[in-house]
Symmetry: C2
Subunit: 216 residues, 2 copies
Amino acid sequence: MENLIKSVPEPTLKRLPQYIHLLKKLKEDGIRQISSNTIANELNLDSIQVRKDLAVTGVVGKPKLGFDLEELYSALLHTLNWDNSTDAFLVGMGSLGSAILGYKTFPEYGLNIIAAFDNDEEKIGQSFAGTEVLSSDKLTDMIKRMHINIGVITVPANEAQKVAQQMIDGGIIAIWNYAPVHLKVPPEIIVVNAQLSQSLGVLTHKLAERLRYLNL
Amino acid sequence: MENLIKSVPEPTLKRLPQYIHLLKKLKEDGIRQISSNTIANELNLDSIQVRKDLAVTGVVGKPKLGFDLEELYSALLHTLNWDNSTDAFLVGMGSLGSAILGYKTFPEYGLNIIAAFDNDEEKIGQSFAGTEVLSSDKLTDMIKRMHINIGVITVPANEAQKVAQQMIDGGIIAIWNYAPVHLKVPPEIIVVNAQLSQSLGVLTHKLAERLRYLNL
């Protein structure tokens, strides 16, 4: 399976969790085979698109029978590396940071947030969702010592660049950035932006469009 | 300005918040003019892409001087309808729902979550971030009475479809869905998915790719 981890376009990667969520549910319902047409119908996607997306897993469906559901599910998890557990540190214990730390589903997605950091003296030493909050002063050193690869940034915009630098100094390779700011990082560092505003803009734009149409 | 609200491709819409965040910062720094090249450099984007993206606002830059920053900023807000305030209801007061309710920046993005709902008797009547949690039984009726257009879903996957239906029955037009499930809705309903797993999959895939490369 190792050679399945190869370059997949980002829009495809973003659709894969949908397939995983659907297949998980169907597995629980006892379904064992599924066609790409059924998947396309269930998710309201184009079936050619679905076939292309699923092809990145390397799993081949059988004519008429479709895919072995268990095999396809495992291969999708493997493509996103969700069949492995990766340790991560989170910095910024505001409301969003606390929510992410408390989100019970991330371990299913291979993400294991094992420590949280903040620079607020009142938060340091407190425990959230079973994890003690540590001082941000220790961040770089602990990343080095524990060989952490993923950093999650949930600090305010004006602190995010500094935190990113502390993470990179410690040896972080991949940053999941929730702060509403563009991080400047060396080209070898992976930054994936996860600002809630991205999808909110799509929503508010489309709603305005729809309301104007309805008023016509 | 009204006629500026027209169909814009989704990938463009998702990039607009980046420009807004950058321009907001530069405005605070006292900058008044900016070229698309400078914006492209600051955000590490292709400058042709930036020019195309900004063209959807209808604002035209001056040769050599570039854009009037204030004008461009206002037009970007207008394109996303973030210069208007839209009332929304949120359903699901778990850790993510509480975080979203407590997120102080949403009003800047035109989103005003004015009521929160849950079906957990222990949460009903409690107050989060200044908003009282109401019983989900009241959801449909209150949407009708208050003419609410946006519904935010932060319930677990297995409850999301039911909540979506209650929202639609009340007259909700646009759903911001955080539940890891595909919602089945009539074609006139706008659903924008905001599952955190979407961007996490990109992160964990790219990290696995990078680690394999480094091990070579």
